[in-house]
Symmetry: C2
Subunit: 318 residues, 2 copies
């Protein structure tokens, strides 16, 4: 089985690549290295079944050439920066919507029929139903990131119907674990290294978040593509827990043995379009036999340990 | 009040323009005339408060220049051809998604905060709930057209949240009436002119459709923008009736005094992505005091009468 992984040098992508190689797949990574890290592919590069192509999904010609002779595409390449969407409103549209269309067209050019897609729990906006199932009430988008990912999902689903493809769409909560490179924990850790005596927190700290460990996330992706049989298979991926941002902070400062003053920016939302609670009902994914192995606190600690052992990631230039 | 109407030379757009002018608005139409007709703007052009600009929404510079000094945008410009989406998969993305993004950016450049958008009942895909309300279960897209309009809705909603805009989003059933230029009735009428003795019908004729008269549609748009007060206001627009394609055919052949043989292509769907039933719950729009005045059969007859009186439309080159 030949897998093509866009964004395969990224946090989730590179963890997926390692697991695909372990399972015997031949793997091509296609990544523009804008946020991906070649260091994440060091063990993969030692394998003969692995190939890396530096390329951008917005370069349709290069993408189409690279995609030939693969059986399945894991399309993880994206602008994953939710927070600053309003500062560069074209970026999400380009990278998450038009980029996804390019991937679909390249697949169509080569008759490749299976695609897995990293969407987001942000597509639920501020859902009326919590925990939120996949068939929650038709949401209203609150962020450019969520909007661009919803558009990607919609294009993929329409291609399935129109051209006979099969899709596996994953709506993630935030992901933690080894090779974690952005988000709450990263920001908090970086701040505490710079000034161990205080921590600036966006919002009031009561925003509730659910986190999933990257290995649990990759498990679910593999289970889904191997067992799900609908034309369009949509799965929430999260844990049956949530924590407040304040709980995350408590775990982090305890692990680092610090007791900083906490300065809250205030308000229910950390930023425009931030959802006070993304907490997903994951029964559908569990019904395929998957279950997460890491509790949120274990994931937080594993993430911190990895960050402490990989301080180069703190000073990288994206 | 200065209104900017993209697609204002089209079927729905030009009817809206006439009504806006009657209500005292100053109106600018921006239309690339790819399917719009200058003849639809003949009465509008006689008014001093009217201005026409030939331009494409994909020409961001021209659009941005034209949009200055307006109070509200009615964004109706779109690729409205649902059926042939799979034959030109970029067209919906360009005209309905990227075009909408251009409109939003142009609005943002000028601080224009209010936008009305013509979406479609096709965004519900094949809904589990019929009649389908606005908060129906999160749908799976089945057409590139629906996907591209959903993406447009999502961008608009995210811009409302991110930049303080206010939106009025309308999910239409099929629209009938004066200046109707494409769709079932048009195709059937054109066929029967060419060969009165037989009619080719896509699908099995049992596809159920709801139709709304264009004047009822324009009424609803005006009521909504004048009365709805949420940040993102989403309204289904349809009638509380539906008919089968076979019923439409009966009305048409009766009005034309013909009795053609009917040749069905067969199957539940007329084309890939066709929905066997788009039938919308319109309570939300009715709660603002709107109600449709035309029954579907009256709308069908009015459409036929207009087509009979305007045979130039049958031989136009789009």
């Amino acid at each position: 089985m030949k897998a093509f992984v866009t964004g395969g040098a990224g946090f989730i992508g590179s963890n997926l690549v390692d697991r695909l190689l372990q399972r015997g797949y031949t793997v091509t990574v296609y990544d523009n290295l804008s946020t991906g890290q070649l260091r994440f592919l060091e063990s993969a590069k030692a394998q003969p079944r692995f190939r890396f192509i530096e390329g951008d999904i917005l370069d349709a010609e290069r993408l189409t050439g690279a995609l030939a002779e693969h059986d399945i595409v894991f399309h993880l390449s994206a602008n994953a920066d939710v927070r600053f969407g309003t500062q560069h409103p074209r970026r999400d549209l380009d990278q998450n919507t038009i980029g996804t269309w390019n991937v679909l067209e390249a697949m169509r050019a080569h008759g490749i029929e299976r695609v897995a897609f990293s969407s987001t729990g942000s597509v639920y906006g501020e859902s009326e139903v919590v925990p939120t199932p996949e068939n929650a009430p038709f949401p209203v988008q609150t962020s450019l990131y969520g909007a661009s990912k919803l558009a990607g999902e919609a294009l993929i689903s329409a291609y399935c119907e129109g051209y006979g493809m099969q899709a596996f769409i994953f709506r993630f909560v935030s992901i933690l674990g080894e090779r974690y490179t952005h988000g709450h924990v990263f920001d908090f850790y970086k701040q505490l290294l710079a000034h161990p005596d205080h921590l600036n927190v966006l919002g009031d700290g009561h925003q509730k978040k659910s986190y999933l460990h990257v290995q649990d996330c990759v498990d679910a992706i593999l289970v889904a593509v191997e067992r799900a049989s609908q034309r369009v298979n949509i799965f929430n991926l999260g844990t049956d827990e949530f924590v407040e941002v304040n709980d995350s902070i408590a775990t982090i400062v305890e692990a680092l043995k610090l007791s900083p003053n906490l300065n809250y920016s205030g308000g229910e939302r950390g930023w425009i379009g931030d959802s006070p609670l993304i907490y997903l009902d994951c029964k559908r994914m569990r019904s395929l036999g998957w279950q997460p192995r890491y509790a949120i606190r274990d994931g937080l600690r594993a993430t911190l340990t990895w960050l402490q052992q990989n301080d180069w990631i703190l000073t990288r230039r994206d």
